[in-house]
């Protein structure tokens, strides 16, 4: 690990200013990604600013929304009674990821900012445009079984690893931030993560030194009927090969509205809006769900080892919606 200075902060604006002051500075949340990647030299910040004592660790529940502080832990959020009641998809998504120890450490903002698990990104001897712009991508023709089929480019096919973010994107959350100059703004969750295109090193819509302060999840009555289905190589403690976050608003056997997010198959938390539009007004049958799944994966591009994910994702979508329809979740 490279040497760095450690700064404690108790004020959001001060923390933002401290990071903005140095191009090599980073915020430290739970450390589950950052400290890990510092140990293997993938990240080498010259300054760490600890953001866990900024007073951003509360969950505030109202009729209109649930407001989640940036440093609320993943466990805190998944276990909160109001989250479990209003947004089961979010609680299920979080609980399907990592382990209790890691969820107790990891913050909500840190989960959003976690880096890909692509083995070439994590290996400083490999070529990786995300880690080192312009160096190439060893995953394109390498061992790419775990890689993305949606949102890919010729520069990068790294999968976004988060489960929580897939639920957040179907819930239309808003990300609130503070900048060093004292200004604040909010970013729709679906605009927060960037697909790699020609700039895979640009992963999120934040400026350097911009601090996430809280996430607002607006009330969505239909989300009481929601579900997260994760398919993976092990029963526990494994990243998704494919996952689906689904919300189903039913009028008898007819779909009033549906929401669909995908994980494990895309370069960023994925919202399948075309499939959602298709589902509205149709019968909630397995055939309808299969057609929606075909639409959701229409733009998928498989490579040597990850072609199976395209069919796997379709079946995951059908099973998630069918389970929700049948109350079997």
């Amino acid at each position: 690990m490279r040497a760095f200075t450690f700064q404690r902060s108790t004020d959001a604006a001060d923390a933002a200013a401290a990071v903005a002051a140095s191009s090599g500075a980073m915020f430290l949340g739970g450390g589950t990604t950052l400290v890990d990647l510092m140990k293997v030299d993938v990240l080498a910040p010259d300054t760490l600013v600890d953001v866990r004592r900024l007073g951003l660790s509360n969950i505030v529940v109202s009729d209109e929304a649930i407001v989640v502080g940036a440093t609320v832990t993943n466990s805190q959020l998944a276990w909160h009674p109001a989250v479990r009641d209003r947004f089961p998809v979010l609680s299920e998504a979080i609980l399907s990821g990592a382990t209790t120890q890691i969820r107790n450490m990891a913050t909500v903002a840190g989960n959003m900012l976690q880096r890909t698990r692509c083995s070439y990104f994590r290996d400083v001897h490999a070529s990786c445009n995300r880690r080192q712009p312009g160096s190439g991508c060893d995953a394109l023709d390498g061992f790419n079984r775990g890689h993305a089929v949606l949102g890919v480019s010729e520069q990068c096919i790294a999968t976004h690893p988060s489960d929580m973010c897939v639920a957040m994107i179907v819930l239309d959350a808003d990300v609130h931030t503070a900048r060093a100059d004292g200004s604040r703004r909010s970013i729709p969750f679906r605009d927060f993560h960037l697909a790699p295109a020609d700039t895979p090193h640009r992963e999120v819509a934040l400026e350097h030194g911009e601090l996430i302060t809280h996430i607002v999840i607006p009330h969505l009555p239909a989300a009481r009927r929601s579900h997260y289905l994760k398919v993976r190589d092990r029963a526990s403690y494994e990243f998704a090969l494919a996952s689906a976050a689904v919300v189903l608003d039913l009028d008898g056997g007819i779909i009033r509205a549906a929401r669909l997010g995908l994980g494990g198959v895309a370069t960023k938390p994925w919202r399948a809006l075309d499939a959602e539009h298709f589902l509205a007004g149709r019968a909630a049958s397995d055939e309808t769900f299969r057609q929606a799944a075909e639409i959701a994966l229409a733009g998928a591009v498989g490579r040597e080892h990850n072609h199976f994910k395209i069919e796997l994702a379709k079946r995951t979508i059908v099973r998630a919606f069918a389970a929700l329809r049948d109350g079997n979740v």
Binding site: T32, S236, Y237
Partner: protein, 175 residues
């Protein structure tokens, strides 16, 4: 970097490089070798400790980030010669073989029992909206809640038995 750390009811003033992890602080600075270094990258759970009541991985925790926090390690569990109920259960159920993962398993198990008594769900809970009943928690639930602690000797059946024994005892576990 100066850091004030409470470990098992003793307060320490560390003066160390910010790169020092909590795991290395416990072992190499404070001489508490019960906390084990397995993978050192957050995968195996051998370094599990309890900070302010929550089980966490000490290998991914920077000591400097623990200013003022209370850390409980395996050395802090037994009261004189009296084992903590979870330690006794691991002995009684033969919940280990080589013993390297055991301190992390025991600390993790104590928290798993407390979480179950608090009624919080896990990934295998059929409905996250329901409050979990610790007294009827299934072995699948125990396995899922303990999945962050790997055992290369594969003592898992007996580890599950030890957790089950404490879980179903009256009153849960006091730290």
């Amino acid at each position: 970097m100066r850091t004030r750390l409470h470990v098992n009811d003793t307060t320490h003033e560390l003066s160390a490089d910010p790169r020092l992890t909590l795991l290395d602080a416990l072992r190499d600075v404070l001489g508490l070798f019960g906390t084990k270094k397995g993978c050192d990258q957050g995968a195996c759970g051998a370094c599990t400790v309890i900070i302010d009541g929550q089980r966490v991985l000490s290998c991914l925790t920077l000591a400097a980030a623990c200013e003022g926090q209370h850390v409980l390690t395996i050395e802090g569990l037994a009261a004189a010669d009296e084992l903590h109920p979870m330690q006794a259960a691991f002995l009684h159920c033969d919940g280990f073989q080589c013993g390297y993962c055991t301190p992390g398993q025991i600390l993790s198990a104590i928290c798993a029992v407390q979480e179950a008594h608090a009624g919080v769900p896990s990934h295998v809970t059929p409905d996250v909206r329901q409050t979990v009943n610790a007294a009827t928690l299934t072995d699948d639930e125990i396995r899922e809640r303990m999945s962050g602690n790997l055992c290369r000797c594969a003592a898992y059946p007996n580890i599950v038995a030890a957790v089950r024994q404490v879980l179903h005892a009256h009153g849960g576990v006091a730290l």
